[in-house]
């Protein structure tokens, strides 16, 4: 590892599923001599492309989890983080986008900018990731890179600038003409590894000159030096041009476009040159952490190896040698043997083995410096954890983890699956803090909880693929909650004398809504009407009631209990008696306090071509959604709405058919809101019907 930050690139390769990004990655690894043979994505030769290390990915030819790998090209070190193209794997996507500094947006020269390219682009926009575009598959029938460049402008709102033109197209694709050097590049040898540089063929020269003029014109906006050179009619050197293009690219104001066919081994080496020349190094990017000692105030990190360490664990993998944790060091230098603190757990960790990953192979290294990506072995941590030097208390992510809003019962099909399912759940819950699991005491079912329908579906699929755990799933259930809306008093006496020692306890007080916390218990008893030793039993009794509401048996939240009076008996009172009294008192007060059901409301953002805006809004409206607004940006519109989660099941299918598959949506938890009366009644009815059914089955 060189530790030269200016020649380091952390890049992602982002694209629509079938645009060939895994093939491109494979070729990059081949030309940079990280691998010595090329395999197909779909695994015709039974080996599969190097980056798709997960079985499911190999089978489907898609990339779900982001593997990180590195290579070297012309004195530059390049870490490649293979990002998933699906919007649904939010945590995965967000983490991988966070650790990369630049990206290559791969587009298909036939399919052009497709809906998923739009999603991927939106994600990059959100994280302000500078990118270059690679128009792949120029060897296919119907290839038209210039149409794709237009789409980049019209559909994605980029300011694309072609750095090349193709020499031949479709089956006649021979190479590319570089507009910076004005030379033709051909790719010879069995795998296109030998570059033959020649003059641009005469018939292409007028087009090349015209496109070069366009490129210089656009680049001149980002360099005074270049503008001067143009005005003074001086010769424009490649260095001057590249510098201007880089300035524009880093500002995300310009998208340099390259082209070729990864499958036919054409155009990959110039793309690597562009990664070196145009994408940012870690020092070009501003990274922030949150100072936990200073109420999460953002602090800017400095890619300086002499400063205290700040590193982020962005991916976990269960390898044959134990847990492998991918990390990016943002500040300082992580050395073998050094001690760091995991901010989430507060635990000190001694770094044992540091490795650099190349998909599923690894090599041992001594240090990981600021800006670099590597992996540590045998450290028990979760994805998203921050490791820092003991003297600082910074976190790369907010400590806030949203509560799951949906649950699903999973039942293993056999004993072996049961064991494998436990292993899988143990791994997944560590990887993703928004994914949880528990065993329902009553039914004995294993319940998984998460942030959306697709979120859970992906984990069920992974359980099957990666852990061979065959499970059947129940119906998804929305995590409703119960709460009260007004203050009510209680005065309950628990009295039982059925032989043996009796039970006696009286508790009086009031129950009221509370917005600051889930549950507050306050003791305002004076004169020891309930002896002090029984107060904890009272609190426990009330607290236990919170787990299951009387209306729908969902957890109760936002309740404050104040006890003001009570009575005890010198012989018959006990902890148990007061716990029972608290339960009775709770029910008495709760039923008088106008209880209601709350449901999770999701913040939904649908990104759609403007012509479908009306039908998308209609579909959200039908789902009890409140549309907050619609934002038009060129040919695309983003509709923002708040929609109850219970109404969003199956929405991805609905939106696909409404918009010819051109719209995408993201969904995240927003708040809990009271369920309308009519729907609440329906839920209670369903609950009682289910209860009846349960009783009959037992009989």
């Amino acid at each position: 590892m060189k530790n030269e930050i200016l020649t380091l690139r952390n890049i992602g390769i982002s694209a629509h599923i079938d645009s060939g990004k895994t093939t491109l990655t494979e070729r990059i690894l081949f030309y940079t001599q990280r691998i010595h043979a090329i395999h197909d994505v779909k695994g015709k030769d039974g080996v599969g492309a190097t980056m798709d290390s997960m079985e499911l990915e190999k089978e489907r030819g898609i990339t779900i989890a982001s593997a990180a790998t590195f290579c070297e090209w012309k004195n530059h070190e390049i870490n490649i983080i293979d990002t998933p193209g699906h919007v649904d794997f939010t945590i995965e996507v967000e983490r991988s986008l966070r650790v990369l500094d630049g990206a290559v947006l791969v587009l298909c020269s036939v399919g052009g900018v497709q809906s998923q390219s739009i999603t991927v682009d939106q994600q990059m926009k959100r994280y302000k990731v500078p990118c270059i575009a690679f128009i792949n598959k120029c060897d296919r029938n119907g290839a038209n890179p210039f149409r794709v460049i237009e789409q980049l402008r019209d559909k994605l709102g980029h300011n694309p600038v072609a750095l090349q033109i193709p020499i031949g197209l479709e089956a006649k694709l021979e190479g590319v003409a570089d507009l910076i050097t004005m030379k033709a590049i051909y790719f010879d040898g069995d795998n296109g590894e030998i570059l033959r540089i020649e003059e641009i063929p005469d018939h292409l020269l007028p087009q090349a000159k015209e496109k070069r003029e366009e490129m210089i014109d656009k680049a001149s906006l980002f360099s005074d030096e270049l503008t001067e050179a143009i005005l003074e009619e001086k010769e424009i050197s490649p260095g001057l041009l590249l510098n201007a293009l880089r300035n524009g690219c880093l500002l995300r104001a310009l998208t340099p476009v390259l082209m070729g066919s990864a499958y036919k081994n054409k155009g990959v080496q110039p793309l690597l040159d562009a990664v070196n020349n145009l994408l940012p190094c870690p020092a070009d990017v501003k990274n922030e952490a949150l100072d936990m000692d200073n109420s999460e105030t953002p602090v800017i990190l400095c890619a300086d190896p002499t400063k205290p360490i700040v590193a982020l664990a962005f991916k976990l993998e269960d390898g044959q040698y134990g847990q492998l944790t991918y990390i990016r060091v943002y500040q300082g230098k992580l050395t073998k043997g050094s001690t760091v603190v995991n901010i989430r757990t507060g635990k000190k960790i001694k770094i044992g083995r540091l490795v650099r990953m190349h998909a599923s192979q690894m090599e041992d290294i001594e240090t990981i410096s600021a800006g670099y990506i590597g992996a540590i072995f045998g450290v028990d941590c979760a994805s998203g954890d921050t490791f820092v030097s003991p003297e600082i208390n910074y976190s790369m992510t907010s400590m806030h983890v949203p509560e799951p809003v949906i649950s699903l019962a999973i039942i293993p099909e056999d004993n072996k699956s049961q064991i494998n399912m436990s292993k899988a759940l143990n791994r997944f819950t560590k990887e993703d803090p928004t994914f949880r699991s528990y065993v329902n005491d009553e039914t004995g079912d294993t319940i998984i909880e998460g942030m959306g329908e697709l979120h859970l579906e992906v984990y069920v699929e992974r359980m099957h693929r990666e852990y061979n755990a065959k499970v059947t799933t129940g119906q998804p259930r929305v995590a409703y909650r119960e709460t009260i809306t007004k203050m009510a008093e209680f005065n309950y006496t628990h009295k039982k004398q059925t032989g043996g020692s009796g039970q006696y306890g009286r508790i009086a007080g009031y129950i009221e809504p509370c917005f600051e916390e889930e549950f507050i218990f306050e003791n305002k008893i004076t004169g020891a009407s309930i002896p002090t030793q029984y107060i904890p039993a009272c609190e426990k009794g009330f607290r236990l009631c919170m787990a299951k509401g009387p209306k729908l048996e969902y957890p109760i939240t936002g309740v404050k209990i104040t006890i003001t009076d009570g009575a005890s008996h010198s012989v018959d009172s006990s902890d148990m008696a007061f716990q029972a009294a608290a339960r009775g008192a709770f029910l008495e007060g709760y039923n008088k306090a106008n209880p209601v059901i709350h449901e999770p409301i999701m913040k939904v953002a649908v990104e759609t071509p403007t012509e479908f805006q009306g039908s998308v809004m209609g579909s959200l409206n039908q789902r009890r959604g409140i549309i907050e607004g619609s934002q038009e940006d060129g040919p695309m519109s983003v509709i923002e709405a708040q929609v109850p989660l219970s109404e969003m099941f199956g929405y991805s299918t609905v939106i696909r058919s409404l918009t010819q598959g051109k719209a995408q949506f993201t969904m995240e938890f927003s708040t809990y809101r009271q369920v309308p009366k009519q729907i609440a009644e329906e839920l209670i009815k369903q609950k009682s019907q289910a209860g009846e059914k349960g009783k009959q089955t037992k009989k």
Binding site: T485, P513, F515, Q613, G614, M617, G618, N621, I626, I627, E628, G629, S630, Q631, E632, D633, G634, V638, E640, R673
Partner: protein, 234 residues
């Protein structure tokens, strides 16, 4: 909810207007000020006032994204309801939220044709029927008159009225009639023209046209700390 009474009265009525709506159906109102003085803030208060009276407001912004506009509403609503209990404030916000729709477009993407298409989508599907339309950020250059002439019958047809923000500039001389140059030629199209005028530490709300006219005795200000409309004390 009793406590809402004091916020459902439109404070602009103090400038001599008879009804809370200030404007008649199909009517236009303009709020003029230099950049950053408080045009959006004033209109958000008028909008919230409408929403509290269950009248739907369509807020069209040609400058800011939905998120930012939403923040304006939330902040001003919180200031208006600062004396409410937290649960009451939340409940009221959730009650009035369906009465607001934010539509943002880029200035160069704005056209009457586009606006009509969008609003029709909303009305015909029974998603939203605006009674008040705010257009924030429309450039008042040579083309504004044509836009307003097209907007008028459309608004009238909807049974709504419209408020527009007009950005003025410090260095510009007023028109021959004393009105800021941006509205001087088109003042007849407006029923009400209000100007925000910073003077010392206060921002005065002046009636240039409509209500009791420029001679009204009430002095309204935008409180510089909260940007809420208030009567000038003393």
């Amino acid at each position: 909810m009793q406590q809402t009474n004091h916020i459902t009265d439109n404070p602009l009525k103090w400038l001599g207007y008879a009804t809370d709506n200030i404007l008649p159906n199909g009517g236009f109102g303009a709020v003029l000020a230099r950049a950053g003085v408080g045009k959006t803030s004033l209109l958000v208060q008028i909008a919230l006032n409408s929403m509290l009276r269950n009248q739907a407001v369509l807020h069209i912004s040609l400058d800011d994204p939905v998120k930012k506009i939403n923040l304006w509403y939330k902040e001003i609503f919180q200031l208006l309801t600062k004396d409410f209990r937290m649960d009451q404030e939340r409940q009221l916000w959730e009650t009035i939220l369906p009465f607001r729709f934010i539509l943002t477009m880029k200035v160069d993407g704005f056209s009457m044709l586009r606006l009509e298409e969008r609003v029709r989508d909303l009305v015909e599907q029974d998603i939203f029927s605006p009674r008040m339309i705010i257009i924030d950020g429309l450039p008042f250059d040579g083309s504004a008159k044509d836009t307003l002439l097209e907007l008028k019958p459309f608004i009238n047809h909807l049974g709504a009225h419209a408020w527009l923000t007009v950005k003025t500039h410090r260095h510009e001389e007023p028109g021959p009639d004393g009105f800021p140059i941006q509205v001087s030629d088109i003042k007849d199209l407006f029923d009400t023209i209000i100007e925000l005028h910073p003077e010392g530490e206060s921002i005065y709300i002046r009636n240039l046209k409509g209500g009791s006219g420029p001679t009204n005795t009430e002095r309204l200000i935008l409180d510089p700390s909260t940007m809420l409309i208030q009567k000038k004390q003393g």
